[in-house]
Symmetry: C2
Subunit: 226 residues, 2 copies
DNA sequence: TCAACTATTGACATGGTGTCAATAGTGCTG
DNA sequence: CAGCACTATTGACACCATGTCAATAGTTGA
């Protein structure tokens, strides 16, 4: 366990702490409504899990930061893994809020619009989504399920934007290619937002040109199956 | 800890076991040369780490499978993490063995050839490389370093194949785009080899068309930077 | 044959996680 | 307002995984 700050183990009584700690004896136990307490723990867990990977964040630390007994985490969330999954569940659904109604128009136009929407929602949601390793890694099956479900929604949206939704045959192939494309997009977004090696325009150009190539060249290749 | 087979905790005396276990008392301790013992532990660790993710494989299990005391793992490898990194280090360098000398020719031809080489080496190395989550996740810095180094080699090769090696300006942008492309390739390979949702031809078409799009459209967009 | 060497072991200490009975705020009721 | 039921919260306990290290037992050479 990494102990960066020696003061984090102190009791911190959230935001409704009375400043007169020395004069007035504050209650040794703070009793909140389950919703409040749950939210409080969740907030601190969310922050810590965004700072460091799962294994390096201990429930002891989360409890200390939230100023509660460690057992309370288990009481509200079952176990550490479930708490983590809840954090991920929130992070991965941020970008789903924006469900753009796509206008009619040429493929070019719709791709452009979808890309603007994608980049905008990314710029807002920040780096949370980027650091998730949703790449079919053999990690946690439940974690996998959550990330895949979230990704599927985005992909379905993209399929619609490209006018391939009506394509009844080769459904699976199209989805597979778009899943691969989603990884390009994710990685590209990482280059843009985290590593800052690409400008937004460059990333946009990358995403648009490759997506057009997929729709116009790779997808029509459905006749090349055996 | 997952205990699938109740017999794995038994002593298994590697491959040089004498069959007369009941009659001849085999030595309670088997003393091997450090190289042999190290290799033996490594082999079992490699198998287990390929079957299940890091956290779900305990050193107790590795030691049991190898038929040695758990302390020996620390003696030879320091700690569990270093053992794991050594496994990864081997897995990620498999595909580097094939260093193709690229012929001259049109961009189209060279991309085709590079892609055949890429898919061939993938088909051989199997799923080990695919399940690695090398996506800039904030995991282990050392793990990150290893995977990035391995990936960089592949990317450099691809840059040469595309005839962009001499491009002195926008070096970083080109590399960034190719890193993103590598994720598309990795994900596509996963669809081909693991999920079997794409045929080799379809994947090849996907990779070739998108790569051509990047080289011809995205990369020349270097003048669009601010 | 014996002794130095060292590969190997097993007990110990540490730290993280989950469980659960005991405890102490809180609000209701007479 | 006192007392009581309810339950949010605690802290001690058991369990498991990891790392350390002194003791032990094969092995090799004199």
């Amino acid at each position: 366990m990494i102990q960066t700050n020696p003061t984090i183990l102190e009791r911190q009584s959230s935001n409704l702490a009375n400043g007169t700690r020395s004069s007035m004896a504050e209650p040794r136990r703070q009793r909140l409504s389950p919703d409040e307490r749950r939210q409080q723990i969740f907030t601190h867990a969310q922050r810590l899990f965004n700072e460091r990977p799962y294994e390096e964040v201990s429930t002891t630390e989360i409890a200390a930061e939230a100023g509660v007994a460690r057992g309370l985490i288990n009481h509200y969330f079952g176990n550490k893994r479930e708490l983590y999954l809840e954090v991920i569940r929130i992070s991965s659904t941020v970008s789903e809020l924006v469900v753009a109604t796509l206008p009619n128009g040429s493929l070019e136009e719709r791709i452009d619009i979808a890309m603007v929407w994608f980049l905008d929602s990314l710029a807002q949601s920040g780096s949370t989504w980027l650091t998730l390793g949703s790449g079919g890694v053999s990690r946690d099956p439940e974690l996998e399920r959550i990330l895949v479900a979230s990704e599927n929604k985005s992909i379905e949206l993209l399929v619609v934007a490209c006018g391939l939704a009506t394509q009844s045959e080769n459904k699976e192939q199209i989805r597979a290619m778009f899943r691969a494309y989603a990884q390009l997009a994710r990685s590209g977004a990482r280059e843009w937002l985290l590593r800052k090696t690409l400008t937004r325009e460059q990333l946009s150009m990358l995403l648009v040109s490759t997506l057009r190539a997929i729709v116009e060249e790779a997808v029509p290749a459905r006749n090349s199956r055996r």
